[in-house]
């Protein structure tokens, strides 16, 4: 962990993708692992499909709930346009960016000419290392819909050791925080993400 022993994680996505849940799971896992934790989130109207960034900081002693601009250790993006927004926090010499490479057009109805390949190129220019993965394509193989990208990305980051928290703490937090009816599907997604990470 850099920056005087505090790990700085940004989670970016849009309202409805499970950004809040993911931040909460990781924050709880960090607590179970014995760290001091601060996790900043936003509620209310901004969530109705709009851009959403959550922050999780953990370490021996955490002061600010907000990460300072340009000082993230890891950015996990659930969608690429939102990942680019989160590059406000990126450091060319430090930040690892792990992003779901799928693009969800921010405009209603029609795809306006947004070049998703250019977005990916721009994201790469902000971080030390960028890892892209098409999450929902893989998720579709194990469950009915394409939800739970949040669980996929969490599991992937843990398996790749990008997120310095042990798997057992993440699973413990998931088990405690997810509703029972969603637990099984989440576990399936968690396992397929783990497998994907191993083979990649």
């Amino acid at each position: 962990m850099s920056n005087k022993n505090t790990f700085n994680l940004i989670i970016a996505g849009y309202g409805g993708q499970g950004v809040l849940t993911m931040a909460k799971i990781i924050a709880y896992a960090a607590m179970f692992a014995g760290y001091d934790v601060k996790q900043a989130e936003l509620h209310g109207l901004a969530q109705r499909g709009g851009s959403l960034i959550c922050q999780v900081r953990f370490g021996k002693k955490v002061y600010s709930p907000l990460i300072r601009q340009g000082n993230a250790d890891l950015i996990i993006g659930l969608e690429i346009l939102e990942t680019l927004h989160a590059c406000y926090y990126a450091d060319k010499n430090k930040t690892i960016i792990l992003a779901n490479s799928e693009f969800y057009n921010p405009y209603l109805f029609e795809q306006k000419g947004i070049d998703s390949q250019k977005i990916i190129k721009d994201i790469k220019s902000f971080g030390l290392k960028t890892e892209l993965i098409s999450a929902s394509k893989i998720i579709k193989k194990v469950i009915k819909d394409t939800a739970m990208i949040n669980t996929f990305m969490t599991s992937y980051a843990v398996e790749k050791k990008l997120l310095p928290i042990r798997e057992k703490f993440i699973l413990q937090a998931m088990k405690e925080k997810f509703r029972k009816i969603f637990w099984e599907d989440n576990l399936k997604v968690f396992q397929i993400a783990k497998l994907t990470a191993k083979n990649k």
Partner: protein, 612 residues
């Protein structure tokens, strides 16, 4: 089990949840609120746990009533608390100010929203109200402090017989951090009201007498509490000539900045900010050459310091809002930049780099939307089809304020809870035109009724559309007087909006089912044609609520599909459902997004069908 009730040594809590835990640890017995983000979770958590603990809790019809109700409990000897968002405190202010004179032992929690993350009106700094009303005020920096200060607030309010304000900001309300748990204190189930002249004595003499008492009480608090409290504290008291004074979450941004620069600067942390702690401030600034003041949002502490420094250290260089923004929320990088400037230090490379390159990046913005299947979208569509786009449209506070955004753009003004009605009445009287008002169910009960009565009384000419989605949706699905359920989860009378409207004297009242498009269009047209005040109650349950109800019983929402392409489908662009998309000239419905309201099928019955 709710995290605030866990039998554990420490727990991750939002600042709002920590307020509740703190209150439980001193025997909270009575709590009220009207939902408002960023304060919402205080009420939401209480709604879940109050009954079990024997606490009385209610969602009141508005903040003024909420505060008055809690004050009634406080006068009856129960530990009582009201929680509000910043504008909510404004609504309640009329009663709060006299309650301070009347020695009401009430804890008031207010959540300001610097950065306007969940608010559209203003970036109000509620600490001005502390000064307006002589209201002792505490400013926690994180969840642990939120809990501790709540406990302290209950002690203060009892000891000095005065309301106490706990002032939060978004990043305190909505940050999870670790909280050490104490024991939950049993609630007091029954209060006693003692008849006394003190509450009812009227006339200018008693008022002046009370004012005098209040000011001497504030003096007493300054002398006794402020001298011994640990909420105002000097850290790293050393010989360094540059210091920082900070309150709330800004204190932690200052800590981070100091750590990054690597110089041990002294900090004065202000936790008890009204009455202002003059003595510790004098001691702190006496030998400094420069001081940086970090606070959200206005320069309130800065103003106090400037006054104190005049006598104690006139040469002191005071930095505050000249280096830090007064607009938007405080951020760690702003404090780092300001402090580096004062100390003449260079900025970290990764900050400089990001500042340079990220600024150049042009990124498309993702605006918030009404949910797929939202009844408000159907209502906007109906009204647009019935009346066109060129009427004067008034918006109000609720999810439907998103009707101001494309593709509808049907809100010419949005001001404050219930303000749509009064404002439109004024516009109508001045222009002779007939504005169309969109106001939600909870907002109507909150502040719409007096304004509605005014339109009848003063012979207005407006069309009021009350969007009845059966819940207070935007703040997270709290019940209201039309829901039939109280904050404690008990059954109660469900007021019918159309009956309320009728009893206010409105003759033209029409009820529509917004999921029945064609019939609703006809009814809205007719309602508009009537001279004078007419009301349409647009019924349609919040789709998110419907979907959640269905999920609970294991039912998946139906999905629709486009089975026949047609150039006419381009019209759906103006409908603005996030599930309906066009790709490479073909129209389709994203089944991961569709929540099955079926309005699009009503618009295009020959092209869209239920997906099997």
């Amino acid at each position: 089990m709710d995290p605030v009730l866990k039998n554990t040594k420490k727990e991750l809590l939002l600042g709002n949840e920590a307020i509740v835990r703190g209150a439980l640890e001193v025997g909270l017995s009575f709590a009220t609120t009207y939902p408002g983000t960023p304060a919402s979770e205080v009420g939401n958590v209480l709604a879940k746990i109050a009954k079990k603990l024997g606490i009385y809790f209610e969602f009141s019809t508005n903040e003024k009533v909420a505060l008055e109700t809690a004050a009634g409990a406080a006068f009856s000897g129960l530990p009582a608390m009201v929680s509000l968002k910043h504008y909510g405190l404004n609504v309640a202010l009329d009663s709060l100010l006299p309650l301070i004179y009347l020695e009401c032992p009430l804890v008031v929690v207010v959540a300001d929203d610097p950065g306007s993350w969940s608010s559209i009106q203003t970036e109000q700094d509620s600490r001005w109200i502390s000064r307006l009303g002589h209201l002792p005020t505490l400013e926690p920096s994180d969840s642990q402090e939120a809990k501790e200060m709540t406990k302290y607030a209950f002690k203060l309010t009892k000891k000095y017989k005065i309301p106490v304000l706990i002032r939060l900001t978004t990043r305190v309300c909505h940050t999870r951090s670790l909280v050490k748990y104490g024991k939950i204190f049993p609630t007091k189930k029954k209060g006693n009201f003692y008849k006394t002249k003190n509450l009812s004595a009227t006339g200018s003499l008693p008022t002046i007498e009370r004012h005098k008492n209040l000011l001497s009480k504030i003096k007493e608090i300054e002398k006794s509490e402020l001298l011994k409290t640990k909420l105002n504290k000097i850290f790293k008291d050393n010989s360094n000539k540059v210091g920082i004074i900070a309150s709330g979450v800004s204190y932690y941004y200052a800590k981070e900045a100091i750590n990054e620069i690597g110089i041990n600067l002294p900090i004065l942390k202000i936790g008890f900010s009204y009455p202002f702690p003059k003595d510790i401030t004098k001691k702190f600034i006496k030998n400094l050459e420069k001081v940086l003041i970090v606070e959200e949002t206005d320069a309130i502490i800065e103003y106090e310091i400037r006054q104190i420094a005049k006598n104690v250290n006139p040469k002191l260089k005071i930095y505050g809002k000249d280096l830090l923004p007064q607009i938007g929320e405080m951020r760690p990088e702003y404090v780092l930049v300001a402090l580096s400037k004062i100390l003449n230090k260079s900025l970290p490379k990764n900050l400089v780099n990001n500042q340079k390159y990220f600024k150049l990046q042009k990124i498309e913005k993702r605006l918030p939307n009404l949910c797929p299947g939202c009844p408000h979208r159907a209502t906007f569509w109906i009204v647009k089809k019935a009346l066109g786009k060129n009427k004067i449209f008034a918006g109000d506070i609720g999810c439907y304020l998103l009707g101001a955004l494309p593709p509808y753009k049907m809100a010419d003004y949005i001001v404050a809870m219930g303000a749509s009605v009064g404002l439109s009445h004024g516009v109508s009287k001045s222009t002779g035109k007939k504005p169309v008002i969109f106001i939600g169910d909870s907002t109507f009960f909150h502040a719409g009724i007096p304004a509605l009565i005014n339109t009848v009384f003063n012979k207005s000419d407006v069309l009021i559309i009350i969007l009845d989605n059966r819940i207070t949706a935007m703040t997270g699905h709290q019940p209201h007087p039309g829901t039939g359920i109280t904050g404690l989860g008990e059954k109660t009378k469900a007021l019918k909006i159309e009956e309320v409207v009728q009893s206010c004297g409105v003759d033209s009242v029409e009820v529509i089912n917004v999921y029945n498009i064609n019939e609703s269009i006809v009814k809205v047209k007719k309602a508009y044609q009537k001279k004078g005040i007419s009301v349409v109650v647009a019924k349609g349950e919040c789709r998110l609520l419907t979907v959640r109800k269905l999920a609970r019983i294991g039912v998946r929402t139906p999905k629709f599909e486009i089975f026949r392409q047609s150039p006419n489908l381009e019209i759906l662009k103006d409908f603005g459902c996030p599930a309906i998309r066009k790709h490479k000239g073909k129209y389709y419905i994203d089944e991961n997004v569709c929540w099955g309201c079926g309005v699009c099928r009503q618009i295009f019955p020959k092209n869209i069908r239920l997906k099997k």
